[in-house]
């Protein structure tokens, strides 16, 4: 189980609302037990992350906190203030209720355990 997702899933057209979003850098690892997904979300506090799993599509939406207080002016800008959106289509059923998420140092780590039916089964030779 090496090809764990379709990495080319692009940001969907938002319904009527024009909102600028960008795709964060991410990394997917899969083994016989679970998907492990790392998403880089610098500048995003825990409260600004929304996760959603519906019909094997995982959606991560995250907003950067506005780090520029009043009275400050920008002299040079390279960091993008845009919010993040990542949609991944999972190619195996996962147990939604056992999904765990951790946000640390601007990196979101997700663990999505596979459902029993999706796990490889050893068949003994008699």
């Amino acid at each position: 189980m090496n090809t764990t997702c379709s990495p080319r899933t692009s940001a969907p057209a938002t319904s009527g609302v024009t909102e600028s979003l960008r795709k964060p850098l991410y990394n997917v690892n899969g083994n016989a037990e679970a998907f492990e997904i790392r998403v880089e979300l610098p500048g995003v506090p825990k409260s600004n992350v929304k996760l959603d799993l519906e019909e094997n599509i995982l959606t991560v939406r995250a907003e950067r906190s506005t780090t520029v207080p009043e009275g400050m002016k920008a002299l040079h800008r390279e960091l993008s203030p845009l919010s993040y959106l990542l949609r991944l289509r999972l190619n195996a059923p996962v147990s939604e209720d056992q999904m765990t998420a951790k946000l640390e140092d601007g990196v979101l780590t997700l663990r999505l355990p596979l459902k029993e039916v999706a796990k490889p089964r050893q068949i003994p030779v008699l």
């Binding site: 880089e40 002299l75 390279e78």
Partner: protein
């Protein structure tokens, strides 16, 4: 005539709040302002061209890994401080090194990634030129949500001061 000139200088000084206006100040023969501090950040030969660095940065978004060795930076300013913010997701506090040397602020971050059993690490670095008016002794840094913010306080003398005639 004199009134007109006075008004113009006044106007330029007031518009000092915006970046565009700073460019005006440099060409203003009546102003005693030296070249704005903004330029000083990037005038250093090693600081790199900001336009180039943002280009490389954009390239990195299209081809992750291409420009992955250079940290993106934002510079902000308020009355008392400069703030340089670097994006360092996944980097631990102990893996960040900040150095001030000859007016250059250099940030190096060691990024460790665990890919299943494999563990890899690579370092990211960025230098920016620091204006002279920064009080080097008072520079502080904090790491939060993958953003490293370096606060560079301006020295007292560079804060606006009113001089009264005796």
């Amino acid at each position: 005539m004199h009134e007109y000139e006075a008004e113009r200088i006044f106007r330029l000084k007031n518009s000092n709040q915006t970046n565009q206006a700073m460019k005006l100040i440099r060409t203003n023969p009546f102003s005693l302002n030296r070249v704005s501090d903004f330029d000083e950040w990037f005038r250093h030969p090693l600081a790199g061209l900001p336009s180039l660095s943002s280009f490389i940065n954009n390239l990195g978004e299209v081809f992750p890994g291409v420009a992955g060795d250079k940290l993106a930076v934002d510079v902000h300013e308020d009355k008392d401080n400069y703030f340089a913010s670097f994006e360092v997701p996944g980097v631990k506090k102990e893996d960040v090194k900040i150095e001030l040397n000859n007016g250059m602020l250099t940030v190096s971050a060691e990024k460790r990634e665990k890919d299943g059993e494999k563990e890899s690490s690579y370092s990211l670095t960025r230098s920016v030129s620091v204006p002279e008016i920064v009080n080097a002794e008072a520079i502080v840094a904090k790491l939060e949500d993958g953003i490293l913010t370096v606060t560079l306080p301006k020295q007292e003398r560079s804060k606006p001061r009113t001089i009264t005639l005796n």
